[in-house]
Symmetry: C2
Amino acid sequence: MTDMALDQDRAAGSLYRKVAADLREAITSGSFGEAGRLPAEGALAEQYGVSRGTVRQALAMLRADGLVTSRRGTRRVVLGTARVQSFSELLSFTHWARSMGEEPGGRLESLIRRPADAAEREHLRLEPGTEVYVTLRLRTLSGIPVMVERTVYPPRVGEVVAELPADVVSHTEPLREHGILFTDADHTIDVVAANADDARLLGCRRGSPLLREKRRTTDPTGTPVEWSQDRYLPGTVAFSIHNSLASSALSRHARESD
Amino acid sequence: MTDMALDQDRAAGSLYRKVAADLREAITSGSFGEAGRLPAEGALAEQYGVSRGTVRQALAMLRADGLVTSRRGTRRVVLGTARVQSFSELLSFTHWARSMGEEPGGRLESLIRRPADAAEREHLRLEPGTEVYVTLRLRTLSGIPVMVERTVYPPRVGEVVAELPADVVSHTEPLREHGILFTDADHTIDVVAANADDARLLGCRRGSPLLREKRRTTDPTGTPVEWSQDRYLPGTVAFSIHNSLASSALSRHARESD
DNA sequence: GAGTGGTCTAGACCACACG
DNA sequence: GTGTGGTCTAGACCACTCT
């Protein structure tokens, strides 16, 4: 752990991110011990040469990631020393795959344009009669089929997607270059039986169980940019979440590149 | 929405919680419109008679719950007007059930005490030879079986659980009275096939798919207090997550339709 | 009682969005 | 340029834990 000198290395941007990155590294490298206690906020503030508020903002990130606890009256405690990076992976299949060291792949099975039905208008917040772009994709990890993805795009987004080559792997990246950002998503996870298409594409039996993730993604203005249903073969994926009673305050952890 | 006077009503405790509760109500009741924009932070601060920092702390809660967006340079935007309350539901089956207006029930099928195996020692961070308490419970909603819960408790917690009546519904509540708090949890969600016990208790066929939630819960000192595997009948529950580049929240829903 | 995190204030400056 | 949220500071007091 560096005593000071967060100068220009480290996670670019704000001070508290640099402090958080440094603390994260110290924690995961075991500097404080497995269930050890962190220095007091005041001590950290002095050590890093920042105000206590900045230290608290950094600690809130680690808190939200489930790395440390917090309780009034006592030092913070290290909860875990190893942890998956962050949730931004959930916003992109490609990011998620790469973060696991797998090679993401995919094939566009179909892309059609048609008027949105009632449910789609509801999810994408569209006017009646608006046309949407509907895609069906098979997604692979290191060449092995793991997921079928059915996505509905509103016109502004669909127009861009329709121009992409059929074998393009990541969609969020080219869309970002067109100024379309994926920043917020609501996910719902449940179980569903494979239909004929699922079975054919994934090589499983019809009616066999699949893990389903429904997802609505919006941009920073709150405009829906995607409504998707992903169906995963059992055993290929598990969703993992950390939550706590108190994480609420000032939690942020933007992750730009990675 | 009240102009002022957060005096003593509302979510007890800190100022920012009261502000957050008031804003949450204003948002969900549609005061700002479906995709409307919130007043500026400064305006809210003046309106509530608090500092901008306090307003920001309140807004961070709403952000984490997926109620509003935030972006530098523009007003915050209302993302959704209907949303599940908060995280605490996920830490307790009973709370979750009640928050949906369902009546939680349950039956203790078995409770045994035996030495922890290697995996359990790992999850609960126990010394070799330590004994654990293992329970098998059937959980119901309004009398209908929905979930089988297999939980492993470390000695300190298990001793209390073992003293509880077999038909007690909530465990977190009596445990809290013994000074044992459930504050942090890691969840993993996937699909699994029903074994003979699952099938018998839930009334489904052996091998039929179940939604599985694995959960490790700790108290504020970081000490594991529970390691559990819950298996839900399909169609009875769906897990729902909101995540953004800024933070994330997880909640559990009853399953509607599609 | 001493130490610690939780809350709150009142200012300041900056980076970005939008007209 | 103006307004907005993002970051940061330097204080203050309180509630809680632990010894």
